[in-house]
Every structure is written in C-alpha cells, then in structure tokens.
Amino acid sequence: MLLVSGRFRSCGWTCEFDMSCKVKALKLLASHLVVLGGAWFLSNSMKEDRGVGEESSLSTRVPGGGTDGILLARLLEPEVVEPSKYELLKPQLTLAENHQEAVVALLKLLPKQYLRAGMVGRDFREWQRLPPPTGDRIAEFEVRVRHWLSDDREACLKFLREGNEEIYLRGDHPVFASAFTDYALDEGEVDWVLKIPGGNERLYQGCLAELGTAKFLEKYGGDFQVGKEELAKIYRTFPFEDRDLVLKTIIDGKGGGSHKGEALSSFLSNKDHVAQEVTAWIRGLQDSGGIPAEFKTVSDQVFTNWLMTNPETPLGEKMELLQSIGATQMTVSGIVAQSLETLLNEGRDFRYEFRHGRVDAREVFEEMTAKLSPDSVEAEDALKSNLFYQLVGEDSIGAMDLLATLPKFRQEEVLIRAIGEGFKLDDPVLAKAYYDSFPESVNEAEEMNKTRNWDSYVFSGLSRYGDDFVDWVVAMPEGEFKERSVQSIVKWSQRVDSPIKDRVEKELVRK
C-alpha cells in the first residue's frame, strides 16, 4: 500500500514522511473514502428510489441480501391494459368527406378471414396476395365506420353487408364488436345494434348495466338464435339469487339448444356462486322434475359437466347426484381425475411447488383430500393414482410416496400407465429415466402394457418435437430401449402423414 512506502506520492505532490504529513495523508485518504462511499451509497439509494416502474433498472436490491424482491414485485404486477389502437385513433381522425369512399379504400386491406369475396379470376388472386393489414389500418377502418354510423347508420350497414358486389363483411367481423358496440353505447342505440349479428360481450354488459338483470333478461336474454353466441357468455354475470328467472328465460328462449346450454353453463361458472348452493339447486331440480323434457338432455349435460369438474362438491354427493341425473357411465376414478385436474389448474400450483421441493407428495395429497373429501377406499385410491399421474413428471422419485399404500397390483398398473399419462409433452430425457427405473417385465401382459404406454408418450413427443425427437432416438445407444422407441416411431409414421416418414424409412428401418 502507498501508505507504508515511506514516501507519499500522489499526482506529483510529495512531502517528507513526518507526523504532520502522516496526518494530512490520513485525512486525505479518509476524505477520498468518504466521497467514494458516498457515491456508492448515492448510486444504490437512487436505484431503490427508481423502484418498480422503470424498466431498465433491473439491479434493485432487497434488505437482507435475499432474493430480488422489487424486481420480483415488478414482474408479478398485473399487466396494464393499454388502450386499443381504435381508442387511440378515435379522437384523432377527422371526418372523411365521403364516408363510403373512405371505407372502401380500407375494406380490401382487412384480414381476409372476415371478408367474403364475390370476385373471381385474377382480381381474386391479386387480392389474396395483398399483404396482411397492420393494426393501424384495422383501427382506421373501425373509426371510419364509427363516423359513418353516427352520420347515416342505415347506409353504412347496408353497404357493409351487401352494398359492394365484390367484397363484403361476414357477420362476425370484429368491426361489429368495436365500432358498432361503441356507437350503441355512446349514443344509447343498444336496441338497433342488438338486431345485428355479431354483438359482443361488452355490448351486452353495457346493456345489462343500464337495465339490470330482470329487465335485461326480459328484453334480450331470451334470444339464442344463431349469431348471438356472445349473449350466452353474459349469463356468467347474473347473481345466484336470480337463478329461477335465469333458468326460465333460457328454457323459454328462442333458438338453438347449444346456445341455451352454453348460457346455462356460463351461469353456473360464476365464481361467486357457492358450490354447495349450486349442488342443492341441481338436486332440487332433479327431484322436483322442474325441467321440461325438451330441455332435459341439454341441462343434464350441463349439470354433469359442472359436477364433474367442480372440485368443491364432496365426492360422495357428486357421485350420487350424477347417478340421479343418469350419468351412470361415470367411474369414481374418472370423476376424481377431472375434479383433481380442475383443482390443480385453477388453484395453487402444487405441481410446480412440488417440482421445486416446496411441498412433498404427502402434503399435496392431504391438501387434495381436504378439498375433494374422498369418502371410500376406492375414491382415496383413485385420488392417489390420479395425483401420481399429475406429479410424476415433475419429480418421479418424490411422487413414489403416493403409491406406497396402494395395493401391490394397483401399484404396478399405475407405475406403467404413468409413462403415457404423466409425462405427456415433458422432456423425453425425464420420461426415459422414469422408464429405465422399471424392473424387467415378468410376463407378456406387463411387457405389452409398457409398449403401449411408451407408444403413447412417443406419439405426443413426435407431434411436438418432430425431427428433434427422431434425432434423440437415433442418437440412443443400440439396445432394447432404442428398438422399442424405433418401433413406436414407425407405428406413428404409419398413422400420421408427415415428411418424417422418409427419415424413418431411411434412418431407422432400412439401417
């Protein structure tokens, strides 16, 4: 270090190494250190001030030196919904002198899937070759239509639907959901717009907010004809206390059964409803025979789906109710599998936490048991095996705990079936490691079972990873496993038309 060198030299400034010089030097060093430390502190504190909003500041820190909490907080923030291009452009665009001309100029540039072309020959092919439109063009078109609607809505609609011989809009064109809805809500013309196919959820929501449930249902809720698909979705917003009115409106409504079914299913999917109350309602409807015969097939299907996937109805009650509806083909295992999947998909991500060792298989099982209430040995075993399929791809060794208490013959069946069930599209390296952990088959049935399940894994792997999957198999060391995998690929290539066929033929079969 400079200090102990006997002479202190800095920037051509020297002094003899005496006491006063020593003190000076120490003061000088201290002042430099203070400046250095100050700058360090300032820099860090500025970063903390910058905090959450600023994108480029990634080096935020958290007291205690643990994980980067601010960065994490920012990344977990809900996404801000940006205004659409239409909304941005609407106040900016001045009125065109001639609405029709302005719209025609944009019409051909729209996404082709929403246009119907009456043109033939060269015009049609040239139109097909036009580049895809940008979002700005689409927004411009929508604003032009919006302007025209205010000015002369009948002329605008007539032109868009039929006024141009060569090209016109399909009823589901998004402009009906943007400009038309906007017009209806801005100018209180809901009645007029609702007559046009292609209304969207926002339109119905606006209408509902204006009228309230009962009036809305009375006026619009009973029309399930083609072109009113979005209407069915609005049923999600009705409160449970209006259930009888809702059901009556659906039953009495005009139009097709599938849209009616969708409306009922949408009504049941409201997360504010209490599962126990919904279950009791369904039971009451079954017992009282309150549903007319012509709607019963539709409602039975909707109730069955709801019961199958809703994880909050206790299993025993669910099973009994399903049987009373006539869904007798449902097995305990099938019902458990469906409810479990819904629970894991919609609730806390136990699969992920399990993969990373935050919970173990027993804990997940206990959580699921508390939620699903299996009330028989059969249901409990079904929960164990289905949970095993859900977890095995995340951590196959950790998942084994679940199988320990299953009967021996079930254990083997579940272990092998998990190749096809549990790994789905996951890393083939993991799937193979799992497969390798099996002891040799003791009989032909077990061997066939393994083959069938490995086939099922290979088929899904090939459809996602294509040639890379084939490469992976080609690179395997020669042996029984490779042969089995080649056989699976050959089977797949016989069923699916893919250029991979040639490779299979050249590299795997004729080798």
Partner: protein, 450 residues
C-alpha cells in the same frame, strides 16, 4: 485555482466515479451493450474503443442474469396459481433473455414443458408455455439466437424454441426464408405458411424471398410451393417462356412449365375453361407430348391440381376427366396416386358417383392406383348398397374385384353395422393384404359390439 487544489478536486472526483461504478452505477454504462443491440448494432460492428465498456457490460450482465435467476428460483415460494405462475415466468424470461439469452433458455428447459390449463398464446402445442416469451430477444439478434437454438446443446426442447423463432421471424421474412435450406423437412411447410402470411409488399423483400426459395434444393421444396410466391404471367408471356426453355428438369424449367399450365386456366374470367372442347384437349396433348415423360407427369398433375377449382367454379368436369384419362393413357401412375392428396379427390374430381365409378373400374389393375380405385367406388357403394353385392359378383377375377369386396365389407361395417354381410364379403377375398385389412376392421367392430 492552484494546481494542487485542482488535483485535490480531481482525485476526489475519481473516487466518486469509482464508488459509483462499484455500486453498479446508474445502469447506463453497464447496459450500454444491451442498448446498442437495441439499435441493431451487432457486436462485430462495435468500435474497438468501446471494448472496455463492453467488458464492464459483460461483467454487469452476469450480475443482472444472476438476479433474474434468483427471482426465477424464488418463484415457487410465491404460491401462485398455475396460470399466474406461467404468466410470471414468461415475464421473467422475456426480460432475462435480453440480458442473458442462453441462461434464460436453459432455465426454461429445466422447467415443466406442459403448456398450462388454458394457454392464451398461439400454438402452445408446438411451442410449449414459454418459448414465445423470447420474441424480443430473437428480434434483437436473430442470428445469435438461431445459432444458440441450433447449437445442439439444448436437447429435444430446442424444437419448441425453433418453432417460436419461426413465429417471431415472420416479421423479417428474408431472415426466415434464409433458414429454409437448413431446417428439418418436417418444418418446411410451417415456415412456408408463415412466409405466405408475412408482409411481402416491399418488392425488394418479395424478390429476395423468391430468390432464396428458388435456391432451396428441389427435393426439399417443390416448385409448386415456390409458385405461391411468384407473379402470374399472361398467357402470351408464359407461352413465350415455355417455347424458349429447353430443360424442364431445373427449378427455372419447372417454374416455366407451371406458369405455362397456370396461364391456361387463369385466362380472364375463365373463358378458356368455359369454352372447353376437344380441340383444347388435342392442344393439351400436343404440349404434353413435347415433354420428357417425367416432366410430362408433373405438367399434367399441375394442370389437374391447378385447374380444378376454376373448372368447378365454371360448372365443368370434362376437363378433369380428360386429364385423368391422359394420366392413365400416358402411364403416370405416381401422379395418379398423388392426386389422392388433392382436394380434387375429396370432391370426387367433380364427377358424379356413377361417372366416377365407371372411370375407376376401367383403370388398369395396378397397385399404385388401388387407393384411387377404392376411393372412387366408395361413394357409389354407399348410395347403392342394396344392389352392390350383385354388382360386385359380376366383376371378373382380379385386383379390382378384391378391392371392391374389401370396400363392400367396409361399407357393411361402417354404414350398416352388419357383421354378417361383412363376413360374407371377407370370405371371398383372396388377396392376403386386402383381406388382412378387412379382418382388422372386422375385429374392431366385433369387439365394439361385445
């Protein structure tokens, strides 16, 4: 100000800068490399004087990358729902990739590849839950990211990243097309579709893409596909090119041939098709006979595929029938077999079931056209099931009788769930392959009925 005083101030300023840098600064210096890449400056274009900064940048990137890794690793503690977890991971990967693409990719590949309960992003089946989160990083440096993906070090999961890369590069068609020669054949069709939907309105870009496509080996990319990107010629232009071409086996030769065939149909308002007559058939034969056998097959096949929709639009089927007959007459069995892939076959070549069956039973009894035969008699069998048995009994011994019996058994099972009728037909089949197929189907229905 004395010199000493100036030095005193300067040395403190230096200390301040060192302190600032030690703390990681305000991010401006350290992220300089990243910002330059934002502007499209690739590392090789950077001036040598900036190498010091680059080093600071690299050192800093490691720190930032570590921070993303810490966040990534701490995510399981957040107890998120599946959907929120995948969303959060996508956001982390999106930003992490801008700092350290390789580390972000490896982190992604070590995670579950299941796409989640209801993925909102396109094509999650192929790309998995995360690969499209790298779009910004791919656009920032397409080549480096491509090299990383194709380095062979990422294992099977690289396929998901490759698919996401194609999707991103749809906005840079020249770069996307440039990879066609090296990608697996099974992905060519997907890339072509992406190019087809890309913005090629800039003539420079379109010409560039076409040039690249022409140079992809013909075994990998058929000329028929390249045609989708070429301008149409008038009949006069196409004819002039056709007459001037000697070798039709090259890419350019095939293009000339196809353009010539195309121009025949794309005459204004379909006049040519409407005015179809024997004279035109003679002309078509004359042109075909100018060509070597291989090329002739391609030419006729091209006419069959290209003309069909225009012909049916004009309410005609004679031309298709004439083309099919010409394919038979000139023995283009491969092309006839390939016609099974065309929409032509789905719509029965525009022929009525009776016309079609009449044509089919007169086909030479060859293996290559067995499928065409079966497909052609199926609609007839369906419509005339009750008389079909007697009709088949009149078939002379031979391949077509065997296939007709097989199809009869098929119809008995599929259309009428009649095991007895199916068995009666199967018992008469002698061809082992046809019989095996029929037996398999029979077993399926027999088991289903138990």
């Amino acid at each position: 100000m004395t010199r000493m005083r100036l030095l005193f101030i300067l040395s403190h300023v230096v200390a301040a800068i060192v302190g600032w840098l030690l703390a990681g600064g305000d991010g401006k210096i350290s992220t300089a490399v990243v910002r330059m890449e934002d502007r499209g400056v690739t590392p090789s274009e950077r001036r040598s004087g900036e190498s010091g900064r680059e080093l600071v940048g690299q050192a800093r990137r490691v720190t930032e990358s570590d921070q993303f890794k810490m966040v990534w690793d701490s995510l399981p503690d957040q107890r998120l729902s599946t959907t929120d977890r995948i969303k959060a991971q996508r956001k982390i990967l999106e930003e992490w990739a801008l700092v350290d693409l390789e580390a972000a990719m490896k982190a992604m590949l070590a995670e579950s590849w299941w796409a989640g309960p209801a993925p909102k992003f396109a094509n999650a089946q192929l790309e998995g839950p995360f690969a499209t989160a790298f779009a910004k990083a791919f656009l920032l440096d397409p080549e480096t990211s491509w090299n990383l993906i194709t380095s062979g070090e990422l294992g099977v999961g690289a396929a998901m990243l490759r698919n996401a890369w194609y999707q991103t590069m749809q906005s840079k068609p020249l770069i996307l097309a440039g990879k066609l020669a090296e990608i697996p054949s099974s992905e060519v069709a997907d890339v072509i579709n992406k190019l087809d939907a890309a913005d090629l309105s800039d003539p420079g870009v379109r010409d560039g893409v076409v040039e690249i496509l022409k140079n992809v080996p013909m075994s990998k990319l058929s000329t028929r596909v390249v045609m989708r990107f070429l301008p149409e010629l008038t009949l006069a232009e196409a004819t002039a090119n056709f007459r001037a071409t000697k070798d039709f086996s090259t890419r350019e030769g095939e293009i000339t041939l196809y353009q010539y065939g195309q121009a025949q149909f794309f005459d204004e308002k379909l006049e040519w098709v409407r005015s179809y007559d024997e004279g035109k058939l003679a002309e078509m034969k004359e042109v075909a006979d100018l060509l070597p056998h291989d090329t002739q097959g391609k030419f006729l096949y091209g006419l069959l595929a290209g003309g069909f929709q225009y012909e049916t639009a004009a309410g005609k089927s004679e031309r298709t029938a004439a083309l099919l007959n010409l394919l038979v007459e000139r023995e283009h069995w491969g092309e006839l077999e390939k016609s099974m892939d065309l929409t032509v076959i789905v719509q029965g070549y525009g022929l009525s079931p009776e016309m079609r069956v009449e044509w089919a039973v007169n086909l030479p009894e060859r293996e290559e056209v067995s499928e065409v035969f079966e497909d052609s008699i199926r609609p007839y069998l369906r419509e005339n099931y009750n008389q079909a048995w007697d009709w088949i009994q009149e078939f002379p011994e031979g391949r077509w009788r065997e296939h007709a019996l097989g199809q009869y058994a098929n119809e008995a099972l599929e259309g009428h769930r009649n095991l007895g009728e199916a068995r009666k037909a199967i018992d008469q089949i002698q061809d082992p392959k046809v019989r095996e197929e029929a037996e398999e189907k029979y077993a399926l229905y027999e088991n289903a009925g138990r």
